[in-house]
Amino acid sequence: MQALWQKRVQKHIQEQVKYLRLVFNDHFVIAIIFLLGALGYTYANAVKGLDPQAWWLKPVLSLVLLAAVSFGRLATLLKEADSVFLLPKESGLVTYLKSARLYSSWLPLIAMAFVTLLVAPLLLITKTVPAWHIAVALITLVIIKDRRFSIQLRQWYQADETQATKGLSLILDLAIIASQLYQWLNLVGVLVALGLAYYQRQQLARVQKTQLFDWLAAVGAEDSRMGRIYRLYNLFTDVPGLSSQVKRRRYLDGLLKPITAKPANTYLYLYARGFLRGTEFSGLYIRLVVLGGIILCFSHIWWLSLALGLLLIYLVGFQLLPFYNQYDQIIFTHLYPVPTTKRIQAFSQLMRTLLLLQALLFSVILLVTLGMTIQVGLSVLALFVLVIGFVQFYLPKRLGA
């Protein structure tokens, strides 16, 4: 079983590297560096300008750390066929799962350390705790994560009578994390966390000796975990065999009304419905626009806002381009007696609407955060010029090729 795990992990990592290379293409890396730079800059400024006595500081810190501890799940790399082929090997599964647990710990550990260091300045400016508390807090997070892994593993054994209620466990975690933000109380918190984690490990060992493994639950959990990862990749590149969800979204039907059922609207009819009801591209659009809007709210320098605004519009436009080919798999798209130029026109129309909406939102944010000045006026103009240029000139060239 150990050998099986080794083989699986190797293949898994290979595949992740392959996809990550596709996700972090040159384009995207440049955009990310830009965004991180801007975010870091605004964050540093925000910390400086913060009132250390603000009442909400510690509650927010607790929630952020709780979110950090929730990142990353147990990766078992189990496959559907395992429930048939590995059935006779169930006793060896304990060692397999041990390796899986160890492997799954790395990513959350890095994420927790990163977040803890990131929010550390916020805690230190309050001047209520010494710096070594940060280290204790991180250790506590690791212990909480360990308990969570134990609980998760326990749930994959059949007939486990003592299912911990999720809500209670969450409140407990929050209390332990909150204790880390106060002097001396933090040591009590870490001891409580340690006790709980030990208890869960004992319980897990007991269950693993006495109960049967719930293959269906474990394989299902692993499937949905991988599904989430691939859906994330799918935002940037094509993942074969992955279809995104579709939602009816009846409340959006009003937006589709203006597209009347006439031959000239064939592709617009298709693209507009596909965009609004599919979760993939509409989700991407909403996420990027909202995230961009929030980032712009924090920028108080006009040229930074302008650069970010332009970059985000280009980024959204660029990321939406593959939607043009969304229906190439469906044979009828090739059979319609409608020329390609009409198809490009329809796609341009959709893109124009979406990007103009984005430019409009960004303009409003710019005007609100920076006020009415010549620079802001010119920036707004530049945003709209970019949209028109992108749709009018760049798009036909890209799609025609």
């Binding site: 579709v246 009819y269 298709l270 419905r273 229906y327 044979i331 009828f332 059979l335 319609y336 007696p337």
Partner: protein, 242 residues
């Protein structure tokens, strides 16, 4: 006037799957396209609907080729694929609407036809459903309704009988007969030889990318020298020839 395939050589990239394939599908006729897996049936169909470009030879439909006038050519063809493919984000009703738009059909007239077909296939109460909620057979029925509500001159039906329930098969054969009576040409590829023998007027036997022979069942019997054979026997005989 009809579909005429003349000395068609073609396939994927530079590997010719089809070699000098010639046959015609006349109006008012159902032609059965018969052959083993890999004989070239699907490739032939892909050439006819224009997903592949011939390396040699021509395909003309009522005198129009895909190269000379693609939109007019496509207007004349309706296709029911072997594996039903639907747009995941469109409801059944919207699929039909989209087809009407794409083929510039008269909306009112076509809905009359579509509603009759939907009722026949017991889909008339599922107009607002999404494809994910349809079973494979139901999806296939959607494809059939979609194709047969058009005014196409040529209907291409790829292996229609697997996945449909017996009642639906019966309905489909009836609809095919109606279209045939109205003057359409119908090309149907299938492995269900008993049904093909019963409903097709003539046959095209493909073997290893070549047309082995064409003709009615009577003509095939003479060709293979098997007096009281059925299509099954002839088919087996053909495969033995290798």
């Amino acid at each position: 006037m009809s579909l005429e395939i003349n000395q068609l050589t073609g396939g994927y990239a530079h590997v010719p799957v089809l070699k000098e394939v010639s046959f015609t599908v006349p109006n008012n006729q159902v032609v059965g396209l018969i052959g083993l897996n890999g004989a070239g049936k699907s490739t032939t169909i892909k050439h006819i609907i224009g997903l592949l470009t011939p390396q040699k030879g021509t395909i003309t439909l009522d005198g129009v080729t895909l190269q000379s006038n693609p939109d007019q050519y496509r207007q004349k063809v309706a296709y029911v694929p072997e594996t039903p493919v639907l747009y995941p984000e469109l409801t059944l009703k919207e699929h039909l609407e989209l087809t009407m738009m794409a083929y510039d059909l008269n909306v009112e007239e076509t809905w009359v036809k579509a509603n009759a077909l939907l009722k026949r296939f017991r889909l008339d109460n599922k107009l607002d459903w999404f494809p994910v909620h349809f079973s494979k057979g139901m999806r296939q029925k959607v494809m059939i309704v979609n194709a047969f509500m058009t005014n196409a001159d040529l209907f291409i039906i790829d292996e229609p009988f697997t996945g449909l329930d017996p009642l639906a098969i019966h309905d489909l054969l009836e609809i095919i007969a109606e279209k045939k009576a109205q003057g359409a040409a119908i090309l149907m590829s299938t492995h269900i030889l008993a049904t093909a023998q019963q409903y097709a007027d003539s046959f095209v036997l493909l073997n290893q990318g070549r047309v082995r022979t064409t003709g009615t069942l009577e003509e095939l019997k003479i060709e293979f020298n098997m007096a009281d054979a059925d299509l099954d026997d002839i088919y087996l005989q053909m495969t033995k020839e290798g």
